[in-house]
C-alpha cells in the first residue's frame, strides 16, 4: 500500500466518516481511496469546487458532529490557510494531510519536497498553535493519521500530517491491526443540562466538551474574539484570554504531544536531526559515517510542531554539531538554531529541486561537524 492510501485507511480506522476535498497531485490517491471505501462504512465523500470550499465544508461537518479529514498539496494548502485560522479560533478538531510537493506556487507537481513546514506553523494570520506530525513510511501514514485524530479530539485543534510525495507514493507493507487493538479517542461530548452548555473554556490546559449542531443546544461559534458562550466579545481582555488559551492548551501539554525517535545519541559528537523522508535518506549517511569511525546519532522528529525545544537545548550542550537535512532551503533548521542558541554548530543541508538528498551531502556535513 502506498502512503497516500495509508492516510485514507488511517482516517477510516480513526472513525473519520466525512471528507470534503479537491484533488491535487501528489495527494489525489488519498481522496480516491477514501471515496472508494467510505460507502462501505456509511461515510460521505464530497469533491468540492476548490480547496477553500473543501476545508470550509470540513469545519461545518465537525460542528455537525463528524470526524473529518482532507488532503491537499502546496497550492491547495495555501488556499486553505485562512480557514485553518478559523478552525483554530473556533477550536475545531480536524485532520489535514499535506502531501508536500515542490513549490513555490504550482512548482513541480509530481516531485517531492518538505517546503511547507513553516507555512503550517505560521501560515494563517494571528497567534495560534497547531500540531504537525511527519510520517517516514506508509505504515506511519496509517499510524500517525490515527494519532492525529486522537490529538485533534483531545485538544480541539487542527492536526496536520506533513508528509511528502516520496512517502505518499512509496509502497511498503502496511499492517492494519484489528479494530479492537487501535486506540481511538472519541469526541468529548457534553452531557450536562442544556442551559448550562458553554462551547469554550479558556483554561489554557484542556478543551471544552462539544455538542452537535441541531441537538438543541444554544451556542454560537465565530472567528471573532468570543466569550465562553461563543458570542463575539470584542475587547482586548477577551482576546488576550482566548489567544493565551489557544497557545497554552498546546504548549502546556507539549511533553505529552511530542514524539521523537532516537538512535545512538548518547556520547555522539554529531547528531543528525531530521524528519520524514529526509530521515530515511540520512540513515544511509549515518551508517557510512559510523563505518568511518565518527560518533554520530540520529534524532527523528515525528512531531515537528509543537517543537521539541528542551530536547534540542540539551542536545546542543552535549554535541559538537547538529546536522539538519531537509527538502527545503532551510526551515526547521531555524528552530533548531534558536534552541541550540550558539551552544553547538548547526549545519543545514538543504535540498531544492524535487529530488531527495544524495546521502554523500549529508555525510560531508557530518564529517564537517565532527572535525571541529
Amino acid at each position: 500500500m502506498d502512503g497516500d492510501h495509508a492516510l485514507a485507511e488511517g482516517a477510516l480506522a480513526a472513525g473519520c466518516r466525512f471528507f470534503a476535498g479537491y484533488p491535487i497531485t501528489p495527494s489525489t490517491e488519498t481522496a480516491e481511496r477514501f471515496a472508494e471505501r467510505c460507502p462501505e462504512v456509511g461515510g460521505l465523500f464530497i469533491q468540492m469546487e476548490d480547496e477553500i470550499a473543501s476545508i470550509t465544508a470540513n469545519v461545518g461537518a465537525v460542528w455537525g458532529g463528524q470526524k473529518v479529514m482532507t488532503v491537499t498539496s502546496g497550492p491547495g494548502f495555501s488556499l486553505m490557510m485562512e480557514t485553518f485560522g478559523l478552525a483554530c479560533m473556533m477550536e475545531t478538531p480536524m485532520v489535514v494531510a499535506d502531501v508536500q510537493r515542490t513549490g513555490p506556487s504550482t512548482g513541480l507537481p509530481t516531485l517531492t519536497a518538505q517546503q511547507d513546514m513553516m507555512q503550517v506553523r505560521w501560515g494563517s494570520h494571528g497567534d495560534y498553535r497547531i500540531i504537525a506530525l511527519v510520517p517516514d513510511s506508509p505504515q506511519e501514514c496509517f499510524d500517525l493519521t490515527i494519532e492525529a485524530f486522537n490529538l485533534a479530539e483531545i485538544y480541539r485543534v487542527p492536526v496536520f500530517i506533513m508528509t511528502d510525495e516520496t512517502v505518499g507514493h512509496m509502497h511498503e507493507k502496511v499492517v492494519i491491526p484489528p479494530a479492537e487493538d487501535i486506540r481511538i479517542v472519541e469526541r468529548n461530548w457534553y452531557m450536562g443540562p442544556k442551559e448550562d452548555y458553554r462551547p469554550y473554556d479558556f483554561n489554557g490546559r484542556t478543551a471544552a466538551p462539544m455538542v452537535k449542531a441541531g441537538d438543541g443546544y444554544r451556542f454560537h461559534t465565530t472567528g471573532l474574539t468570543h466569550d465562553e458562550r461563543g458570542y463575539p466579545a470584542l475587547t482586548p481582555d477577551m482576546n488576550k484570554q482566548v489567544v493565551t488559551h489557544l497557545i497554552e492548551k498546546i504548549e502546556s501539554n507539549a511533553d505529552k504531544i511530542i514524539r521523537t525517535e532516537e538512535d545512538g545519541i548518547q556520547g555522539a559528537d554529531v547528531v543528525v536531526v531530521s524528519y520524514g523522508i529526509s530521515s530515511r535518506i540520512a540513515i544511509r549517511a549515518i551508517q557510512q559515517a559510523r563505518n568511518a569511525g565518527i560518533k554520530v546519532g540520529m534524532l527523528r522528529l515525528i512531531t515537528v510542531w509543537p517543537f521539541c525545544e528542551t530536547k534540542i537545548r540539551n542536545l546542543a550542550r552535549n554535541v559538537k554539531a547538529i546536522v539538519v537535512p531537509e527538502l527545503n532551503y532551510g526551515q526547521v533548521v531555524l528552530e533548531i538554531e534558536r534552541c541550540a542558541a550558539g551552544q553547538c554548530r548547526v549545519i543545514s543541508v538543504n535540498s531544492c529541486g524535487g529530488a531527495v538528498h544524495d546521502p554523500e551531502e549529508i555525510l560531508a556535513a557530518i564529517k564537517e561537524g565532527a572535525n571541529q
Binding site: T110, M170, E172, I283, P359
Partner: protein, 186 residues
C-alpha cells in the same frame, strides 16, 4: 538484498511491475520491500522509472544505490540507466524496443520480445507481465508462486487469467534463457 530498477515510458506498466513484485515479496515471500517511483506530469509517454528494494530485514534507505537489476523497456531508459547498473548486474531489455550498445561483458544481458509475445497472447498491454515472468525466472528475487498470488487486485479481474498466461510465457522464456547461458558457460 536486491536493488531493482524498472524503467521505460509511461503507459508500459513500469510502476505496476514494481508494485506487483513488491507486493509478492512483502505479502507472500515473507520479506521486506520498498517501492518508490518517479514520473512526469504526462499520463502516458513520459519517462518513467520505479525502484524496488527487497531485503530480509526492514528497508531503511528506500532507493537503489547501485542497482543490481535493471529492466529497460525503452531506448531512452536504457541509455539513461544502463551506465548506473552494477558491474556483473542483470540487464533485462525489450528486444524490439531497445538496441543495446557498449561493453556487453560488463553486465549479464537478457533480451525478450515481450510486446510481440503479449500480442500473440491477444493484447500488447500484457507485455509488462511477460517481462515480469522473465525477470522472475532470471533473478530468483521472488518466487513465481508469490507473483501469481500477488496479481489479483493488482491487475483487472477480467484479465487475471490472461495476465497469468503472460507471466508464465515470460517465465518459461526466462528459464530457457538461463539454461542457455549456463550451458554456454560450462
Amino acid at each position: 538484498m536486491w536493488e531493482i530498477k524498472f524503467s521505460g515510458f509511461g503507459g508500459q506498466g513500469i510502476v505496476r511491475c514494481a508494485l506487483i513484485t513488491g507486493a509478492a515479496v512483502a505479502l507472500h515471500d515473507d520479506k521486506f520491500a520498498t517501492m518508490t517511483q518517479s514520473f512526469g506530469p504526462e499520463a502516458r509517454g513520459g519517462a518513467c522509472q520505479s525502484q524496488l528494494i527487497i531485503s530480509d530485514s526492514r528497508v531503511l534507505y528506500p532507493y537503489c544505490t547501485t542497482p543490481g537489476v535493471l529492466i529497460a523497456l525503452s531506448q531512452e531508459a536504457y541509455d539513461t540507466y544502463e551506465p548506473g547498473l552494477a558491474v556483473g548486474g542483470i540487464l533485462i531489455i525489450e528486444a524490439d524496443l531497445v538496441k543495446p550498445k557498449g561493453d556487453s561483458e560488463r553486465v549479464e544481458l537478457y533480451s525478450i520480445p515481450a510486446t510481440r509475445f503479449a500480442e500473440e497472447l491477444g493484447n500488447r498491454l500484457f507485455a509488462n507481465l511477460v517481462v515480469l515472468g522473465f525477470f522472475t525466472a532470471i533473478t530468483g528475487a521472488v518466487s513465481p508462486e508469490a507473483m501469481k498470488k500477488a496479481l489479483p487486485g493488482l491487475v483487472p479481474d477480467r484479465f487475471l487469467s490472461a495476465n497469468i498466461k503472460a507471466l508464465d510465457k515470460g517465465y518459461q522464456h526466462g528459464v530457457e534463457a538461463v539454461s542457455r547461458k549456463t550451458g554456454a558457460v560450462h
